[in-house]
Symmetry: C2
Subunit: 414 residues, 2 copies
């Protein structure tokens, strides 16, 4: 089959490959067979012709909290600790109810696909069965990626905390139940250092090594948190060392935020292949600060983007890409660093995630197709524009209502 | 007629009046007759029942550039001066073509109404006939407010500049042609101090006085501009004095941005009844800075919101309200000032504009109805939420696709 339209790929940060009226030739199982500048003459294969629509890479959201989905966009006037106690923790506690969880997660999966997000790395809650329901609903919707049952055996609160023992046994029970999933795989998820006792951290580190499991957590999100971590682990000079000492700081570890990561912490990320997940909307909403994205990139740290709902209020990744540009301008005004371009933000929200999951950037030949067909007609006003401009405009102006089709892992899912 | 739904009004900054299942009784000509907590028993009047939808006040956009509409969301990676020369000025120059202007302005008016913006204060270009076309299209769509033919007789460039003489004669020709408009009225619009010779500024000051016309312009948007103004008017200690010395600094004058307005400039605004139009999205996109909105409010300056397309990339006012909250948090992180709440942002995007146009805040009895019916079902996930929370969520999550009906000046226009 051939998929025809205006192809826009991000082969590397800051560079776009644009093919007006280009086409993707797909194998029978939905892998990209060739990227062509036009439909070949005399082509006998069926052509799915998307006319003047943009064909973008599928979006990757590498940090979000599934159980916070019902509270997106609320309580943003509250300081962080009040927000956690009034919204986030009571909300997550409801996911002890699997039926409720399944209903919410089905909607979340549908909204992700409707917005073109085809790959995720997501936090669930501490509840094993709700986590399995989340994995099922994401897989059923066609989404690929990682989901983690959260570990938190301290500092959670009455209704949202495990014991060290149950945290470990439930993690094992969860991992054993994950065998049937194909596209959604487990990721170890200590909530963040203050949420986990040394026993649980050490247990997770062992699991990560023995079962070759990836890890995700939070790092250097705000200053009060950093001080707290320092008090909890006086032996660790820096936040990241609290993960490293338990074997959780390793290639492919995802660390959300890194707002206040200093030069040494950034160097440790680059040296160990740890990824930073930049969540600009969340960082602004809950007044965490503005992450040094340009520095992270310049210093060789791998960076991807996250919506971080519900600290973030925007699930639609082009809005998160635009938020990343805006945040980089806030940073630029403070320290003179070069802001992110639209092409860079698009790379961070697409190709960076592809790389994280072991693929190549752009529309790589030989890999299953992840793509979004976006009709920008609703906000295209004469004169006509170049594809680079239309991509930029789509980041600022489009919404899920403009998406005409979504392909995930080689299959049309919308 | 009665209009029934969940009423949310902003009678004063920071305070909401919420009436779940409330209703608005309207007179035959569309004025609000009463605001009621429920449909009266035995009521014989026809009821337009919007069920569980939110009924919000109509949105007011008090600063935007009509002729920049075709370039919204593009060129945001460029520095201000490159953006002006590559996008803004060539774009505006096209509006010498009235047919083109009318086509663009018809779409702009439709998008404003589709997004619930029922009142505006807008810059046109320097072209008299295109300005009249803009006024016609806005009025036809049901929008009320002010539109200004731009005056610019210096520093514009080859294709976008008047002579001092033509600037004056065209302004007179424009004003004479404005007699037939009912809802859209003229506002004098020196682009900004560097664009207008003393002769044109003095002429506009005289017109403002003699014909009792309002004035809009730009003030203290970025530091390079402020330095430039100082060089152009060495006799003026501060930017605002360049408007004051020509009689343009008076009650009801709208000054867009005020990002770098210091205490003295803010005091002059408060003392003279000059309004600040805060354009948070634009200020971030073109790296102008972050306006001191909390200070402006605390010091008694009247503040309203503007999309400032195409420096701003969002025409939908709830997004601008959310952007104002985000900008206030950037400011808060820098100087400890209290961020805007959702209730305050809603006030600034609705009631503040109503006050600007001589009305009362909220849904005032005796005034023509401006209202937006918003269905938040697409992003309402259980559990149910209070109206205050639903309003906040709508600011962060809604888009024009969620709007079910718009009432402007007492008439349903969508």
């Amino acid at each position: 089959m051939l998929l025809k339209g205006n192809l826009i790929a991000a082969p590397e940060p800051g560079r776009l490959t644009c093919l007006p009226g280009g086409c993707l030739r797909l194998t029978e199982d939905g892998a990209v067979d060739a990227v062509l500048p036009a439909v070949p003459e005399g082509c006998a294969e069926p052509v799915e012709d998307w006319g003047d629509c943009l064909i973008l890479q599928g979006f990757c959201d590498l940090h979000l909290h599934g159980p916070q989905y019902p509270m997106v966009g609320m309580g943003m006037d509250l300081p962080l600790l009040d927000w956690l106690s009034a919204y986030a923790f009571p909300m997550e506690a409801r996911f002890a109810d699997v039926a409720y969880a399944r209903e919410v997660y089905r909607r979340l999966a549908a909204e992700l696909i409707a917005g073109g997000t085809t790959r995720v790395a997501m936090f669930s809650s501490l509840h094993t069965d709700a986590t399995l329901a989340l994995m099922e609903e994401l897989e059923r919707a066609g989404i690929s990626g990682f989901v983690g049952k959260v570990n938190m055996d301290r500092n959670g609160g009455e209704d949202l905390q495990e014991t060290a023992e149950s945290s470990q046994s439930e993690t094992v029970r969860w991992l054993e139940a994950c065998g049937d999933f194909r596209r959604i795989r487990p990721i170890l998820t200590p909530r963040f250092t203050p949420s986990c006792s040394d026993a649980v951290m050490a247990f997770l580190g062992r699991l990560a090594r023995e079962r070759q499991l990836p890890v995700q957590s939070h790092l250097s999100e705000n200053r009060a948190e950093i001080d707290w971590v320092r008090r909890l682990h006086p032996d660790c000079g820096r936040y990241w060392e609290t993960y490293e000492k338990f074997g959780l700081w390793k290639p492919g570890t995802l660390m959300a935020h890194c707002v206040h990561s200093d030069e040494a912490e950034r160097a440790a990320m680059a040296a160990h292949g740890v990824w930073a997940v930049h969540c600009p909307d969340s960082n602004g909403n809950i007044c965490s600060g503005t992450a040094p994205v340009r520095k992270l990139l310049d210093e060789g740290v791998s960076v991807a983007l996250g919506s971080d709902i519900a600290g973030g209020a925007q699930l639609y990744m082009p809005q998160v890409m635009a938020a990343a540009i805006r945040a980089s301008k806030v940073r630029s005004m403070a320290d003179g660093s070069r802001p992110l371009t639209a092409a860079e933000a698009y790379y961070l929200g697409t190709s960076a995630g592809q790389r994280y999951f072991g693929g190549q950037p752009g529309f790589p030949v030989g890999e299953k197709l992840h793509a979004v067909v976006l009709d920008d007609g609703a906000f295209a006003v004469a004169p006509p524009r170049r594809l680079e401009e239309r991509l930029e405009r789509a980041l600022y102006r489009s919404g899920p209502a403009d998406i005409r089709a979504v392909y995930a892992a080689g299959r049309r899912v919308r």
